[in-house]
Amino acid sequence: MSVELCGLHLDHPIVNGSGTFDAIAARRVFGEALDREFPFAAFVSKTITLTSRAGNPPPRLWEAQAGLVNSIGLPNRGLRGYIERDLPELASLPVPLITNVMGSTAEEIAELLGVCDEHEEIAALELNVSCPNVHTGLDIGTDPVQLERVVAAVRPATTKPLIVKLTPNCADVGECARAAEAGGADAVSLINTLRALALDPSARSCAVAAPGASAARAALPRRWLGGGGGGLSGAAVRAIALAQVAAVASSVSIPVVGMGGVQTATHARRLLDVGARLVAVGTESFRDPTVGSQIARGLAAASAP
């Protein structure tokens, strides 16, 4: 069930969502079996930023209804650390490498793309636009005008295929996808996590206002995640993802990488049916690291004559 995405020839349509699989750690845990039975047709790196990030303080996870709220905070070594230390190891994986990057200005993003462009081990780039613009404070990906301007500004920095990872936390994801296409994106991917919140279960649910304190402030419950808010993924988002992928696929002519709550070949099939070229698996890999290959086999079996 081979498939082509922006010139990349892949054995099957299943990849990983950025930040949901650490191939380097998995090699330490599972050894050579990881490479022998690599579960994805291409490997998407976690988000790389210009300078290193420690990530958010714990707790970083909250199990929600059939889902997971996370606030990881994009920990990574920074661009230089990635190129020098991670890239050699990722380059030896048996599948093409897609590097995911994020920056808060067009200049930062252009530098990230430009440096990655010099490394032939990187087959394609994915741009995470769920990042606040340093000037406006708004996520770059939520505003179609800003998104098109940023993508157009950074597009010349690389000749590699450029995939824009859209945010679902916007008014009209189809319009954002058209903006990315107009700016020069070769493909779009979605959905990223949906904005979510978890409260500390040990906190009192009906706090009494102290004398003199504003009632609203006194009643503010304690947030569970160290980073404050979080993003929801897992089975709980599947129907939303299907709607957003369908909306985007009918809005653009470039390929779409669909993801969100995929647990089985049937779920992947539905995303392909509404127009996705590839399907990414994320949270389900946490439950079973080999689920990517199982889904790929399931799709192939179902499409066999």
Partner: protein, 281 residues
């Protein structure tokens, strides 16, 4: 297996960082038993294809049925448990019913299916030359100390016949001490053993003989007290940490704890860490 000075039965000391790797992918096991042990349960599952785990390693567990159909549609993700014991291809896990995941696992009966991914993580390493092993556990945190005691006794090295100090809330929880050999006990309510904390007993032990390597697992305040006591006396300590985690194999970055070198992932950098790596627990 013989214990003592017979060199033929003696295994090499267990070095740091050389633990069995997990087969890639989770395995469907069959529950062999689920026994009540005071306030706890011991879940036993046949794992004929699994490698023997190193002491201090853990596994991600999920029930094969009704995982994701409880209150609030939880549990959803698998749960991390230290191996408590390994007996001829059978993995034992100590459980306490404290949430939707442990509740479902406590319900499992002989013949039920159990998903297991493991063994995972970095386990305990042998005591430094000339030091005796001193095991300190609190509550359900005694779990990895049982398999470590088995390992030390089988190795017949300096760690054999280790002193064991265990702390519990009350009498029902203190029944968990049966998983280990002879132990000194402390309870919060004074119903069994010393009325107070297990770390009180640790202080007495170290006053008596400081040539020890301490192995500890328990709630964070207990581990912090162990870390501080050992640091003050310059005594090596290996701490088995616990953290909520989604995957167990380094993918989710959810289980981090702050350490001197930055955040550590408990699943791949631990769960057993050298106490010197932590500023505090």
């Amino acid at each position: 297996m013989s214990v003592g000075k017979s060199s033929s039965a003696r295994r090499a000391p267990i070095p740091r960082g050389e633990y069995p790797k997990a087969p890639f992918g989770r395995r469907l096991l069959t529950v062999a038993g689920n026994e009540v042990l005071g306030a706890y349960r011991v879940l036993k599952a046949a794992d004929p294809k699994g490698p023997e785990p190193g002491a201090g390693q853990f596994a991600m567990l999920a029930g094969a049925e009704r995982w994701g159909a409880g209150e609030d549609e939880r549990p959803y993700l698998p749960r991390a448990f230290s191996y408590t014991r390994w007996r001829d291809g059978e993995a034992h896990f100590m459980l306490e019913d404290v949430g939707p995941g442990t509740h479902r696992l406590c319900e499992l009966r002989e013949g039920d299916g159990l998903w297991l991914l493991g063994p995972l993580g970095q386990g305990f390493a042998s005591p430094e030359y000339g030091r005796r092993a001193l095991l300190v556990g609190g509550g359900v945190g005694i779990a990895p100390l049982a398999i470590w005691q088995d390992t030390l006794d089988a190795a017949g090295a300096a760690g054999a016949n280790a002193t064991v100090l265990l702390g519990f809330r009350d009498r029902a929880h203190a029944e968990g001490a049966a998983l280990l050999g002879e132990a000194r006990l402390a309870t919060d309510d004074g119903s069994v053993g010393h009325h107070g904390w297990v770390t009180d007993l640790l202080g007495e032990e170290l006053d008596r003989d400081e040539d020890a390597t301490v192995y500890a697992c328990g709630p964070p305040p207990m581990l912090e007290a162990v870390r501080a006591q050992c640091a003050a006396r310059g005594i090596p300590a290996q701490l088995a940490l616990e953290a909520g985690m989604a995957c167990g194999f380094g993918a989710c970055f959810g289980c981090v704890v702050p350490a001197r070198s930055g955040y550590l992932r408990v699943c791949v950098d631990g769960p057993v860490v050298d106490a010197l790596e932590l500023e505090r627990v």
